[in-house]
């Protein structure tokens, strides 16, 4: 009987070699491990042998069944998983059902990216009205009447006392008039300039302004904050420079340039070969502004900054005509 056992084993393993699919595998199982298979037949025969023989044969028979079952299980797994892969039930290459691609307007998206950076370093977000008093828009911000500084911002007037705000800076007046120092906030929103509409200028655009007033706020810290912003937004390798400039509501005032992110500072069409891009204006809050809101310029100092969003969006996405931003052509919108 030992011969039969080893013969059964040989036959099983020989047959196992040629198994190609689950059908053949099932046939093999039935032939050997099934109710009337070779193994079952051997167990039937086993019942008839002597007790001495049983001791030896029992071990061998059990071993046979285990080995065959193990081989079968192994084969089953291999064959089933390969059959799963190779048996296509659907044409998976057919196109899927694609929902319409929703998009945010790039101006809003850019504004939010900027806001997020400042929020992380402790700036609150405050908004204000677009129809603003002449007082808040100009007078409080140290624009003297009949001063050429007013020419810097061509204004839409509602009447002699109200204007379409020309910058979001008046929101800083609103904050400081309702709160004692310290104040730290950014002020995003829409602003208007009475300028002819062409590829480079539009009668409205968006700004993010910022202000921080407290004891011991310095120009050095202004630089620190804006350098942090530039590195977060334009990448940590960005180079920068601060140039003296003029805004009525800050003194000293500066403009911040960064290395052109299109050409990396080598000079290109976008940066007009200079290697630099002007990205924002800033400065120390003018003592006249602090006085206007009732702060004591001998006790507190502050810094302020502001940047135009469209310009940043346009530079970033290589858009050469600002009007594209407000034409809302769906083919344009869906590109972002």
């Amino acid at each position: 009987m030992l011969n039969k056992i080893s013969e059964t084993k040989r036959q099983f393993f020989a047959a196992a070699e040629g198994i190609k699919n689950s059908k053949e595998l099932e046939d093999l199982r039935i032939a050997h491990l099934g109710r009337n298979g070779t193994v079952a037949t051997l167990f039937e025969e086993f019942k008839t042998v002597t007790p001495e023989e049983k001791r030896v044969l029992g071990k061998e028979l059990n071993l046979l069944r285990q080995e065959l079952q193990a081989k079968f299980d192994e084969l089953k797994e291999v064959i089933e998983s390969s059959e799963k892969l190779s048996a296509p039930k659907i044409d998976i290459s057919l196109p899927g059902r694609v929902p319409n691609k929703g998009t945010g307007h790039i101006v809003a998206e850019t504004m939010n990216e900027i806001i997020t950076i400042f929020k992380k370093i402790g700036f609150s977000v405050v908004t204000g009205p677009e129809i603003e008093s002449d007082k808040n828009n100009f007078e409080a911000l140290n624009f003297p009447a009949d001063h050429p500084a007013r020419d810097m911002q061509d204004t839409f007037f509602i009447n002699k006392d109200f204007v379409l705000r020309t910058h979001t800076t008046p929101v800083q007046i609103r904050i400081m008039q309702t709160q004692e120092p310290p104040v730290r906030a950014i002020m995003p929103g829409r602003v208007y300039r009475n300028e002819a509409i062409n590829a480079r200028s539009y009668c409205m655009f968006h700004q993010v302004d910022g202000i921080y007033v407290d004891e011991k706020v310095t120009f050095a810290e202004l630089k620190g904050t804006l350098v942090h912003f530039a590195k977060e937004y334009y990448g940590s390798s960005v180079q920068y420079k601060f140039r003296p400039s003029f805004f009525p509501f800050t003194e000293p005032s500066a403009e911040m340039d960064i290395t052109c992110f299109i050409c990396g500072g080598k000079g290109c069409r976008v940066c007009k070969q200079s290697g630099w891009l002007e990205i924002l204006g800033c400065g120390m809050v003018d003592p006249n502004v602090l006085k206007y809101v009732g702060y004591d310029p001998e006790k507190v100092t502050g810094y302020a900054f502001g940047m135009g969003i469209e310009r940043i969006s346009m530079l970033k996405h290589d858009i050469n005509d600002i009007r594209l931003l407000y034409e809302n052509d769906v083919r344009f919108l869906k590109q972002f």
Partner: protein, 801 residues
């Protein structure tokens, strides 16, 4: 402002410093160099040459073939200009020269078969003027074979500097030199003026009276007689041209030259045309007409300051002279006016007249009230040299006592307080001295200055801090980072808008942004608009009272571009006028709204999907989904409107509790037709500020259902007028709390099958209890009770049983 390098070198010795370094340092000191024109480099490979022969081109009517002598060789040039002639000295672009105005490089080539070894240039091609009528002809004395830049006296560099409104002092070569002297710590050179005078005294030929000393606090005048009006010397013409001014004649050129050098605008009157040889400065008579130098008749108003002679107006103070006293070719005697006018006064007049000149530009920014006499004498000196003039002895100079220099004190510690780092005191003092800021007292704590007249912008300590910062260099200020926590506790309105944006974008909407300035008529439909006093045009004359008009215009633009299917949204402020006039913030309303807009196809035909048009229910579903993200839904209410309104054919007003938070509907045909839109547009507008935030009201957790739901369906035939919400409300009111959900799974209309004016509505009712398993019996009982009630109430017929 165009600044000529050789000119500033007259005032400060910067011979050893490169052009690039000068430009960089000026920029870093606040005088931003916007461009550099280096004529020497620009005219590289341009030389002077003489035309020695001109013959007609054998193969072209309009061309000629010239032989030109460059001094070292004879070249053949094909030329198209009609005025080229043998004997002329001309500017020649030789092989490799780059034409400034055309950006191409000269190469030896054949033109219609004839060799051409260069190009004879026009002034326009050289970028010197707009004259392209013919080639530029140089003066016959010009040497041949020398570099063109040298021949033109333009072997020079010009910086174009953007001057901020606070720096009138830098609107002159002297002023820019002063900054350079401070930047490079070098002495400023001054000119010694001691022109020869004749015995005759100015008082004998002219007198001056100022009636308005507030607006004209200083008036200085010098008289030069026996002048010969003619051409200016070449060097002066060249400098004026490089600085962007046209040469007129020697007298006018000299006044312009002095203005560009000192910043003081001058006016030269023909003294013989001044009635009674007198100058009177006074306000104009309202309504007077006056013809300025540019031959334009101007209407004067009583607030404008005028220069008058004994009889009439002769100039608008600080802005422009009159034709009646203009220097002409026959003028001999000249009164040079050098005055200080009140900046505000000049600015108001210039704006009222719509006239801005080089003079008014400087006066309205503030000129140097101390420098008037120097400028007049400088001009007189030049007239003596270049117009053969004789300078009378003495000068007329009226000065109001109100003109005093301001005293400013700087506390050294303020520099560190504002800038965040300290600058050594001796460095500070040296910067202030180099800027000629009138340092008169220095202690270990303070420095006191008497600010000279050329710096009207400096009035306060902070102005001095700025001067120190910009000259010492912003680069020297360290960058300091401080970690911070928020200090302002205002509600962030944008947070809400942004979360709504995210949901809408996720639902496949495209965000748009429209101009807030809209046409008046269509804006008035949605609210009384706020008009703009000085609009750009009629299409942008009022502030929008809704975002719907902009949205519809967007739809139209896209339809024109062939894009027919859209889901758009926009957020932004709308403005509605409340009062008669806008005197305060109470007289108008400015609120933030979000508008959603769908039109065209919801789905296009694909292999696995049928084409379908958007309908009202698509938008209603989007809106529900959006609102459920923000609102406690139990508070939502509706008012259905089917009667027409100016915008909607039918609509629903949406409420959250008592607050109307928005409206949704189908745009009616007459409103769409204003935008030329023919397809159906569905639109919703939500008032962001009225929406209750989910995080404002905490939602409590509901335990999850552990017991089975029992679901029953029925369908009834109703009269078509019976509205769905009436039926569903009825079912809800007439059921026990076990009924948790009603949904409509079918709507069927068919005249033949169920009769005219009827429709079948099929409902699914869902019953469950959170605490127990319901029995079939109790649900069955409830269900049949509802069936009976519906049948009775609506006279409806139960189907299918």
């Amino acid at each position: 402002m165009k600044i000529v390098l050789s000119w500033i070198k007259e005032f400060v010795d910067i011979e050893d410093i490169s052009v690039e370094k000068i430009a960089h340092e000026l920029t870093m000191a606040g005088l931003e160099v916007e461009s550099i024109t280096n004529y020497g480099e620009m005219f590289d490979k341009f030389i002077t040459a003489e035309v020695i022969e001109k013959i007609k081109h054998p193969n072209a009517d309009k061309l000629s073939v010239c032989k030109v002598n460059t001094g070292s060789e004879v070249l053949q040039i094909v030329c198209g200009a009609p005025n080229v002639a043998a004997g002329q000295i001309i500017p020649l672009a030789t092989e490799g020269a780059r034409i400034p105005n055309a950006d191409f490089v000269i190469k030896t080539t054949k033109l219609r078969g004839e060799l051409s070894q260069g190009m004879i240039c026009s002034e326009s091609e050289l970028g010197l003027s707009n004259d392209h009528s013919g080639i530029m002809v140089l003066s016959p004395e010009t040497k041949i074979g020398i570099p063109l830049a040298e021949a033109l006296g333009q072997n020079d560099v010009v910086f174009e500097i953007g001057i901020t409104p606070n720096r009138p002092d830098a609107l002159s070569h002297q002023g820019v030199s002063r900054d350079l002297a401070a930047i490079f710590n070098r002495p400023m050179k001054t000119k010694n003026l001691s022109p020869e005078r004749i015995a005759k005294r100015i008082e004998e030929v002219a007198k001056i009276a100022i009636e308005d000393k507030v607006n004209c606090p200083r008036y200085s005048a010098v008289v030069v007689t026996d002048c010969k009006v003619g051409d200016s010397p070449d060097w002066m013409k060249n400098r004026l041209r490089m600085a962007g001014m046209r040469s007129i004649n020697n007298i006018v050129d000299i006044t312009n030259y002095v203005m560009l050098e000192t910043g003081q605008p001058l006016h030269a009157f023909d003294l013989n045309n001044l009635a009674k040889s007198s100058i009177i400065v006074k306000k104009a008579n309202d309504g007077t007409k006056f013809k300025t130098l540019d031959s334009v008749e101007r209407n004067l108003s009583g607030s404008m300051l005028m220069i008058c002679d004994g009889e009439k107006e002769v100039a608008i103070a600080g802005i422009m002279g009159g034709e009646n006293s203009e220097v002409s070719s026959t003028t001999t005697n000249i009164l040079i006016e050098s005055a200080y006018f009140d900046p505000g006064c000049v600015r108001r007049s210039a704006r009222a007249l719509g006239l801005s000149t080089e003079a008014s530009y400087r006066f309205e920014r503030g000129t140097d009230f101390e420098g008037t006499m120097y400028a007049a004498l400088l001009a007189a000196d030049l007239m003596q040299k270049y117009a053969n003039g004789k300078i009378l002895s003495g000068e007329l100079d009226i000065r109001a006592e109100s003109l005093t220099k301001k005293e400013v004190t700087l506390r050294f510690n303020q520099i560190e307080r504002i800038l965040g780092y300290s600058v050594p005191q001796d460095k500070v003092v040296s910067i202030l001295r180099n800027l000629q800021l009138g340092v008169k007292e220095v202690t270990d704590k303070i420095v006191v200055m008497t600010i000279p007249g050329f710096r009207p912008d400096i009035e306060r300590e902070i102005d001095i801090v700025e001067e120190v910062a910009r000259i010492h260099g912003y680069d020297n200020i360290p960058t300091v980072h401080r970690v911070s926590s928020p200090l302002v506790s205002a509600v962030d309105d944008l947070e809400m808008v942004n979360s709504m944006r995210r949901v809408l974008i996720g639902m496949g909407f495209n965000e748009i942004m429209n101009n807030s300035l809209q046409p008046a008529e269509i804006t008035a439909v949605t609210g009384v608009p706020v008009p703009v006093m000085n609009p750009l045009n009629a299409e942008m004359s009022v502030m929008r009272s809704s975002l719907i008009q902009g949205g519809l215009a967007t739809v139209k633009n896209n339809l024109n571009a062939g894009e027919k299917d859209m889901r758009l949204f926009e957020y932004g402020d709308i403005f509605i006028k409340k009062g008669e006039a806008i005197n305060s913030f109470e007289d108008f309303e400015e609120v933030t709204v979000v508008t959603m807009l769908i039109t065209g196809k919801a789905a296009t035909k694909t292999w696995n999907e049928e084409e379908r048009d958007y309908d009202f229910y698509d938008l209603k579903g989007y809106l529900k989904s959006l609102l459920e993200s923000y609102l406690v839904t139990a508070n939502l209410g509706h008012v259905y409107k089917t009667e027409s309104d100016p915008v909607f054919e039918y609509s629903i007003e949406v409420f959250s509790g008592e607050n109307k938070i928005g409206v949704i509907g189908k745009i009616n045909d007459s409103f769409s037709s204003l935008f030329d839109i023919e397809q159906a547009v569905f639109c919703a507008e939500l008032f962001v500020n009225c929406i209750e935030r989910k995080k404002d009201k905490l939602k409590k957790y509901n335990p999850l259902l552990k017991y089975p739901k029992i679901v029953r369906d029925f369908a009834f035939i109703f009269d078509s007028e019976v509205r769905f919400d009436v039926i569903s409300d009825f079912i809800r009111k007439n059921s026990s709390p076990l009924l948790k959900k009603i949904s409509l799974f079918d709507l069927y209309e068919n005249e033949k099958a169920i009769g005219a004016g009827k429709r079948s509505l099929a409902f699914t009712l869902e019953f469950y209890d959170l605490n127990r398993t319901l029995t079939e019996d109790e649900v069955e009982k409830e269900f049949s009770a509802i069936i009976q009630k519906i049948t009775k109430k609506f006279d409806a017929v139960l189907r299918g049983n």
